[in-house]
């Protein structure tokens, strides 16, 4: 009884205040959902004129044509396939670099290094994630440009390879921290059982840990991919910004020393100039929708994959 007494005699402002705070927190929680829908709606609204209006954009042409002449006075053409190929090439190549490094680092941090080194590594990698993308862009333009020209003998250093290396450096921290979490989530009883059976460290890693953590590691990779697709500034500065399809049908299928232009970089470079509501403006928003959809699918997949581990 004496425990409930003070509760009953709480002053009124405390009761009201508590209710208010509760509501405030509730709004904060829901706001993210509202923002996502509001942003999607806004992007869609700006693009709807050209998607459903009189002078409709030929979506098939938009996705397959390589002719990107948005500022033409006589005959503007909006073919985004070279831009899509540019985004894909940089993303694929950067993942080829980042995934081995990122997963390797996650394995090392989680399984092989001592506690002190672990602390140092984790903090340093988090610091790597904190470098602003425009600074990465500077590094790409000044240092990587020269390195790519010298080492690979490329005539120009602003290429797919340059962008991919910079992007890899940017997505490695994400892959490492999420990958490490996934490895940490593997119950220690698995490790104990494996060691108890007398396996080597390598066998434990290969046969026990990787299969057990594979969903989480896949999610780490997918979130890295999401980061790479959406990145704008660094890629705009490093890839040379040339409308060009770096893929071809003969081996090795991708020319890493070509310059390309990506979808986000195109929006960043061109949106400032276009008259609001013009065709070009609306097409840039269609590109925005396309990007939104791609990253949404990637993140959703990552989420579902993570749910997969929890369900087990």
């Amino acid at each position: 009884m004496w425990l409930t007494m003070p509760l009953l005699h709480r002053p009124k402002w405390k009761v009201v205040g508590e209710g208010l705070v509760e509501w405030l927190i509730r709004i904060c929680g829901v706001s993210a959902v509202i923002f996502v829908f509001a942003i999607f709606f806004f992007v869609f609204w700006e693009a709807k004129g050209i998607l459903f209006g009189e002078d409709r954009l030929d979506l098939w042409k938009f996705l397959t044509s390589e002719e990107w002449y948005p500022a033409s006075e006589s005959n503007p053409r909006y073919g985004a396939s070279a831009l899509i190929a540019g985004t894909a090439s940089v993303t694929v190549l950067s993942m080829l670099i980042a995934v081995p490094f990122g997963l390797g680092a996650a394995l090392f941090i989680s399984e092989f290094c001592g506690p002190r080194l672990k602390e140092v590594l984790k903090i340093t990698i988090e610091l790597l994630a904190a470098i602003p993308s425009v600074v990465w862009g500077f590094i790409g333009i000044t240092i990587m440009n020269q390195l790519v020209m010298r080492i690979f003998g490329a005539p120009i250093g602003l290429t797919v390879l340059n962008g991919a290396i910079i992007l890899a450096l940017m997505s490695v921290p994400i892959i490492v921290s999420i990958g490490e979490d996934a490895l940490k989530a593997v119950p220690d009883s698995y490790r104990e059982a494996a060691i108890g059976l007398g396996v080597t460290r390598w066998q434990m890693l290969y046969r026990v840990l990787l299969p057990a953590a594979k969903n989480g590691l896949l999610a780490a990779v997918l979130l890295g991919v999401g980061r790479a697709i959406g990145e704008t500034m660094a890629v705009l500065m490093c890839t040379g910004h040339a409308v060009n399809n770096p893929f071809n049908t003969t081996f090795p299928f991708l020319h890493p020393l070509d310059s390309v232009r990506t979808l986000p970089a195109t929006i960043a470079a061109e949106l400032g100039e276009t008259a609001q509501g013009s065709q070009h403006y609306q097409v840039l928003f269609v590109i925005g929708l396309l990007l939104f959809t791609i990253t949404f699918v990637v993140n959703m997949t990552a989420d579902l994959v993570v749910k997969g581990i929890k369900g087990k």
Binding site: G157, D188, H241, A242, A269, E273
Partner: protein, 309 residues
């Protein structure tokens, strides 16, 4: 079962350090802004502001004007922004700039929009001339080029892609011509397209489209097999400006002041400032000062050709 796993408290600390930093970063600037706001508006009361935006080609020149004018006239503060001629006109039309700097003439569409929105015509002021230079790497043996060859290199129907077709070998031995161009909202892009690629035609896709006049010169200076175009005021020691001939067989002229004024140099263009109707007196006074001998001296010092009426 989970003895060796990290305790929750330790993990939480990692999260807390960045989030504390983030919180500090969010709070600090707003705090500063709040405290500095009254003083900024005080300054606005005693000082009139002129917002000047537009052409990247003109941004250095506009900056030099603004700085010198601040010494001449203490009651007016001029702030300058780049972004491209199209951006400047857009800013003029939506009211965020008083003067638009333009390295091309305003399009009919833009003039119509101004009339429709403000029922007044934009006023054009010719501030000087810019000779657009064609740059190559300093070690490139090429000395001159014709407008037709440039069209073949840059135009969408053009077939010229190799340095050997121009009769030279690039310093790094790479035979492919690396075309450096500008983003499509730049006045330089529009002017070069009109003069070199021919009206109604487009650039060949696959050029490196850079975002500033200076960037073009810098990239060409770093890339032995590149060719690019930019204002002649941006020349550095790492690049060479080509002489340009109107047609094969005609004399080629270097991009310099005499040739631009005489009209011998084929790729030169006027630099404009645009205002909406007759601007307020302090804006008008600023433009008149820019056109005065003192202002035109700055045009010459910035590497452009003064407008001598």
């Amino acid at each position: 079962m989970n003895e060796t796993r990290e305790p929750v408290g330790r993990r939480a600390r990692y999260v807390m350090i960045p989030s504390a930093l983030l919180a500090a970063a969010l709070i600090l600037p707003t705090g500063c802004r709040r405290s500095s706001q009254p003083s900024a508006s005080d300054a606005g009361g005693s000082k009139m502001e002129i917002q000047n935006a537009g052409s990247d080609t003109m941004v250095n020149l506009a900056q030099a004007w603004a700085e010198t004018y601040a010494e001449v006239n203490h009651t007016v503060a001029v702030s300058v922004a780049g972004g491209g001629s199209g951006t400047g006109i857009a800013a003029l039309l939506n009211g965020s700039a008083d003067i638009a700097n333009c390295s091309r003439a305003m399009k009919d569409k833009e003039i119509a929009k101004a009339k429709q929105q403000y029922s007044t015509e934009p006023v054009q002021h010719v501030m000087g001339l810019d000779a657009l230079a064609v740059y190559v790497h300093k070690d490139n043996p090429l000395d001159q080029i014709t407008i037709g060859q440039l069209g073949q290199i840059y135009g969408e129907d053009g077939t010229m892609t190799k340095w050997s077709e121009l009769g030279v070998e690039a310093p790094d031995g790479n035979d492919d011509i690396i075309r450096v161009s500008r983003q499509s909202n730049s006045g330089t892009y529009a002017y070069f397209r009109e003069t070199v690629v021919a009206k109604g035609k487009e650039f060949k896709l696959g050029s490196r489209d850079l975002h500033g006049s200076k960037d073009v010169v810098e990239l060409v200076g770093n890339t032995p097999s590149a060719i690019g175009y930019s204002g002649m005021g941006y020349a550095t020691d790492h690049v060479k400006m080509l002489k340009v001939a109107r047609t094969a067989g005609e004399e080629a002229f270097a991009p310099n002041m005499q040739n631009a004024v005489s009209g011998n140099y084929a790729v030169s263009r006027p630099l404009y400032m645009y205002t909406l109707g007759t601007p307020s007196s302090h804006v008008q006074a600023y433009i008149e000062w820019c056109l005065s001998p003192a202002g035109q001296k700055i045009v010459e010092d910035s590497g452009y050709v003064p407008n001598r009426k």
